[in-house]
């Protein structure tokens, strides 16, 4: 904390300024409980932060094993994530901008307090997260995953 305030002083940035807020440069995407089909090792993989994965080496991290992971299984897992996220988007609650209450009624366009509603997770946020998966799909040549995420992101086909 002390180091942080000192560094900020050097850069002439106030502590409470918006520039001083920590901004995650790269969101994480976890594949939970990935099992190696050779040694049955089970671990969580962060596709965005793990240096080995980013380099394209999708291999078991256990030093004695080092066998490649089942690619189809990985693609399937990612596709399940995509499907689940898409489903959750369309099930999400709407929240009133003014009083923060969750919308209960179906037909009302405005909240009882006359505030308007907004999505808890809006389309831009959702698409940003999807872009990540699309990049992985293109990078890893997951054809089916790429097609599906492109559809979700409404990528124009030439």
């Amino acid at each position: 904390m002390v180091m942080r305030s000192n560094l900020l002083k050097y850069m002439h940035v106030r502590e409470s300024a918006p520039e001083a807020q920590f901004c995650d440069p790269c969101p994480s995407l976890f594949l939970r409980n990935v099992i190696c089909s050779y040694c049955n090792d089970c671990r969580d993989l962060d596709i965005c932060r793990d240096s080995a994965l980013l380099a394209g080496e999708w291999r078991c991290a256990v030093p004695q094993c080092g066998q490649p992971y089942d690619r189809e299984l990985m693609e399937n897992t990612l596709l399940q994530i995509v499907q689940q996220r898409e489903r959750l988007y369309h099930l999400q609650d709407l929240v009133c901008l003014r009083c923060n209450q969750v919308k209960a009624a179906h037909l009302a366009e405005q909240c009882g307090c006359a505030g308007s509603f907004s999505c808890k997770e809006d389309a831009t946020e959702f698409c940003e997260k999807m872009q990540l998966i699309l990049k992985i799909a293109i990078h890893q040549k997951f054809q089916l995953l790429q097609e599906c995420t492109e559809w979700i992101l409404e990528v124009e086909k030439s």
Partner: protein, 557 residues
């Protein structure tokens, strides 16, 4: 017909309509018309001129640009129809035009020219319910019993059935009719919601009663304590689930609860009546047709006695037995004199649902095998069309409805064998000349029965399939279930509408094969092919449904 005769025809027709054609405009019209057969020239000219009349023209002098824009509109109307062969047009759910109803101007309008985004904003979610409600309420306002009285006439025998706004129920006594959406706004408490307000209702005392609207009007004459125990009420045929829109008659109690006396689905509107009102708007997605076109196509439809569609649902490509059965069916039709015009293959295409252990690469190969199997039947490959509709458990971007066509990765191998195979969304719409067919693959029966709030009325029918058909047609919606049970893409809810009511509805359901004609609508379920060996042969010309099954030893029955 020579060019000069056509020229003179065009000029004459324009003169009758009061247009003055510039020379280059005349040439444009001629080049458009020449695309059609000689016998169709008349019809084509009429089509162009009618469209011209619909345009906002500044003067009666028509120039080349106006004609070009009209021609492009006419060609665009065909764009929504994917493939046209022998009067067959397939419309993908994502290409169905979207209309909204303006209750103040009392018109339908297109909110935008471009297709809406798949991920809508907050107002899109409210609009989903609001639009459904408005469509039904505008339909109800034309119904003879619910139409607003123009004059202050004496009460008819039945009393006023005018729909009251829920907002106006506060502090009122006496019987009122309301139109509301059933919502569970609080756990265990049900409400009727309309555009103005919501009111709590008590659902625990419903008893079933007859369906006919006249009957339940008559019944409402009976005071609630006369013949029935306190607080019971009557419902019509159908599955009353959360989020269905109902017409309810009742009284406000002191506790602020609306005591329902009768409750039913909004009455159906005759298809002809709806179509007349919506003339000029393409609700189905099959393109706008002029009167002449419609008549011409109706003639062709009547003559298409040999056209037949073979419809199968649940074709498990990974199941040897199912594939064997399919081969027998294809063999049988190969040897018939006239090949079926269309084979509709609905999912699911795998006996296992798409989950972690699924191997898309094996499904890809299986589709390839299917393509090979079909291609081995030369007559069918030459004369029939093949349409594939994905099932709820097939691989794809999402399980939210509408669901897009099967991914190319899965279907590439099959397309090598059958290049003109068609892949479309679930649900999808098919136009056969003037007949409108809606195809939907979803295990609706089971889900509707589970989500039902009141046990369905047994007065009219015991058959759950008939209840299902009554529900979706009266609700004018293929899937009136709560979003939590079946998520929907908010901006594409309109692709599940059944308004105006189509001629035929095909519901691919895993329950047993059934067919049912309901107020002129032909509705059937081919049943699960891989489990029961059942399928349907449908003759669109006569709307005849042939429920078929494959016995173990016989060929096609």
């Amino acid at each position: 017909m020579s060019n000069s005769t056509t020229r003179k025809k065009v000029q004459k027709k324009c003169k009758i309509r009061g247009f003055t054609l510039k020379v280059d405009a005349l040439d444009e019209i001629l080049s458009f018309v020449s695309q059609f057969d000689d016998s169709d020239h008349d019809g084509a000219i009429d089509v162009v001129l009618e469209q011209l009349q619909l345009q906002p023209l500044k003067s009666s002098i028509i120039d080349k640009q106006t004609v070009q824009s009209v021609v492009s509109i006419l060609l665009q109307a065909d764009a929504a129809v994917d493939e046209t062969l022998g009067g067959l047009g397939v419309c993908d759910a994502f290409l169905v035009p979207k209309f909204r109803y303006d209750p103040i101007k009392k018109i339908f309008y297109k909110p935008s020219e471009s297709p809406p985004p798949i991920h809508g904003n907050a107002s899109a979610k409210a609009a989903l319910y609001k639009d459904r409600f408005l469509f039904i309420s505008q339909r109800l306002s034309r119904h003879q019993h619910f139409a607003k009285r123009a004059f202050d006439s004496e009460m008819s025998d039945f009393g006023s059935c005018e729909i009251s706004q829920i907002q106006s129920l506060v502090g009122q006594t006496g019987r009122r009719w309301v139109l509301g959406l059933i919502s569970q706004l609080e756990d265990g408490h049900f409400y009727l919601e309309d555009l103005t307000a919501s009111v709590e209702i008590n659902l625990s005392n419903a008893i079933s009663f007859t369906h006919s609207f006249h009957t339940y009007l008559r019944l409402s004459q009976i005071k609630s304590n006369d013949h029935f125990p306190d607080r019971t009420y009557k419902i019509t045929t159908g599955f009353f689930t959360e989020n269905t829109i109902v017409v309810a008659e009742g009284e406000m109690l002191l506790e602020g609860v609306f005591q329902v006396i009768t409750c039913g689905f909004p009455p159906l509107e005759d298809r002809e009546k709806s179509v007349k009102l919506l003339a000029g708007h393409d609700f189905f997605g099959g393109g706008i047709l002029t009167k002449e076109e419609t008549l011409r196509l109706a003639e062709l439809e009547k003559r298409a006695v040999n056209d037949m569609f073979v419809i199968l649902s649940d074709i498990w490509l990974d199941n040897e037995e199912a594939m064997e059965k399919l081969e027998r069916i294809l063999d049988g039709y190969e040897n018939q004199e006239v090949a079926p015009s269309l084979f509709v293959f609905m999912g699911n295409f795998s006996s296992h649902p798409f989950n972690l252990s699924f191997r898309p690469s094996s499904l890809r190969l299986q589709f390839g095998k299917l393509g090979h199997m079909i291609a081995a039947h030369q007559q069918l490959t030459k004369h029939s069309r093949f349409l594939f509709i994905p099932g709820p458990d097939d691989p794809g971007p999402s399980k939210v409805l509408p669901r897009c066509a099967l991914p190319k990765y899965i279907t590439e191998e099959l397309q090598k064998h059958i290049p003109n195979a068609m892949f479309t969304s679930n649900p999808c719409r098919i136009k056969f000349y003037t007949q409108e067919l809606v195809f939907f693959r979803q295990d609706l029966l089971y889900r509707m029965r589970r989500s039902c709030l009141i046990p369905p009325s047994t007065e009219e029918t015991d058959d759950p399939f008939e209840h299902l058909v009554a529900t979706i047609t009266h609700q004018s919606h293929l899937c009136p279930l709560p979003l939590t049970v079946q998520p929907l893409i908010w901006n594409y809810d309109h692709s599940l509408y059944l308004y105006p009511t189509p001629h035929t509805i095909v519901l691919g359901d895993r329950s047993e094969q059934k067919a049912f004609k309901y107020t002129g609508i032909t509705c059937f379920n081919p049943g699960s092919f891989s489990r029961e060996g059942t399928f349907v042969a449908y003759y669109p010309c006569t709307q005849e449904v042939e429920l078929s099954a494959l016995e173990d030893s016989d060929s096609i029955q």
